[in-house]
Symmetry: C2
Subunit: 294 residues, 2 copies
């Protein structure tokens, strides 16, 4: 029979497997504020520096054996996968996987030609074969999820809705191609689509197109970020934070529209205060019917 | 009765209305080599400097009245529209148009929310109402048109075909959205889609993603340029030139695939020699069935 102390030591715990960017840390912080004690497994060469306040280790990208051992040692129950992985592991780096032989053909196929979705499904199968559940960040911290409608003082006006519709068409098409999640529309036209460079680099590009006069200074625009239609919601949902607002403003945009119920708003209080200060709107939209709010 | 001299002076002549970039000049040069004496109407603030060897004038972007007068004075018969126009004219700049009132509702609608296609159709209607035919550059200089199959020593291999297929899917989706014509696929994934920044800026972005390690140096890739599915062929077809080859090489790509019969290869001899020198392929593909060459 187990003692209460043993039970407590074995209490199921959350792990965050962290790739590139700030998002995994933001999620860790939000889950901590929610009463969790997240264990962060940072992927070497990808994860940002992990603040010392979090229990964390770093592992090599292909070292699934180590990851599986850590999950078992720390009695991990739920795993959140967060942050992009730019580099695909080379086949030779894949070592120590449980059941590697069973996964190998799919892994090879995904590494040679797959999009992110294909790789993600494999990673999820492998983690689940170690007895953990892979969950979305919004299942751990539900209040990160974007709600429907504006959260700022400003709401989209008629010309903003024209841009939101154009941006949704672009982001939907991108998502169907498993390319990215973001689009910028200005004056009713899509001017930039997000590829491997990410949202901030896309916004910097729009700012450059503005300053070179290739996009009229008179036309405002909108950043739209949508979840890929077929996306496994356990992968990172598209997210925005205070920096996204600052960068959207620098690109001359009038606001940001995100996929209601399928996008994350990180540090919402700061997002709202930054957007209100700069006069931008931030709103959740229905990606299939952006027009119905018109 | 007219004299022979008068007849000759009134011989129908080609005009090129030139927007941004080198393409209008390349077309003028190719048409000159073909025996034409093109008259170039450069759009102020958009057209590059026009070499003195060409008969040319510069006009304001909204000054359709001047353009129509020039077309009649110079006895222009055929007009090629070439080069992008970054800036949309503001309504107040539109002056002196014949039949302006008849076009105004469509112009306003296109300026406020239209893609390039919509504006182009209006410009074509206006020029044709002045008695000229608007033709595609390839009708004036047919040997610019990309042919089916490789024109270089190197031909696409199996992994190149995987990238060509991915790139075609991206470029087709872009075209359907009236956004752009180009996509870059690396390792079977689309990593960049061309928006308002243009092909060279997109290739520079891919080169940056390479040098920052965000795209593996081990994976080669392909630039695909396709005509928009619904494109009026009298608008600029997608084009490549020697610089495109140099920039594709700098982005770590193994080759370029263009829409056979619906794309232009400018300065073909230089394209081939540059590509052969750098070991790249340049090939025309069937955009709907890129795989059939696999």
């Amino acid at each position: 029979m187990e003692t209460v102390g043993q039970k407590s030591a074995q209490k199921a715990r959350l792990a965050i497997i962290a790739g590139r960017g700030r998002l995994p840390i933001d999620i860790a912080r939000a889950s901590q504020a929610n009463g969790d004690d997240p264990f962060i497994i940072g992927l070497r060469g990808e994860a940002s520096d992990i603040p010392a306040e979090f229990d964390h280790v770093e592992v090599g990208l292909g070292d699934a054996g180590r990851i599986q051992a850590l999950l078992q040692e720390r009695k991990i129950d739920k795993v959140v996968l967060s942050g992009g992985v730019n580099r695909r592991p080379e086949i030779v780096e894949l070592r120590g996987w449980f059941n590697l032989l069973a996964f190998l053909p799919r892994v090879i196929s995904a590494l040679s030609s797959g999009g992110d979705d294909k790789l993600l499904r494999i990673v999820i199968s492998i983690i689940e074969s170690a007895g953990c559940r892979v969950v979305g960040a919004h299942e751990v911290v539900p209040d990160l999820l974007a709600q429907y409608g504006p959260i700022t003082k400003r709401a989209p006006d008629k010309s903003d809705w024209t841009n939101i519709k154009a941006g949704c068409a672009g982001a939907n098409a991108l998502g169907a191609l498993d390319v990215g999640q973001g689009a910028v529309a200005v004056g009713g036209r899509i001017v930039a689509l997000e590829g491997a460079e990410g949202t901030d680099a896309m916004l910097a590009r729009v700012a450059e197109l503005r300053s070179s006069g290739r996009i009229s200074a008179k036309r405002r625009g909108v950043l739209v970020k949508l979840c890929k239609p077929q996306q496994d919601e356990r992968a990172d949902l598209p997210s925005i934070g205070p920096d996204t607002v600052t960068n959207a403003h620098a690109a001359g945009l009038s606001g940001i529209a995100v996929d209601a119920g399928r996008a994350l708003v990180l540090d919402r209080a700061a997002v709202v205060s930054e957007a209100d200060r700069l006069g931008l709107f931030v709103t959740g939209v229905n990606r299939d019917q952006p027009a119905k709010n018109d």
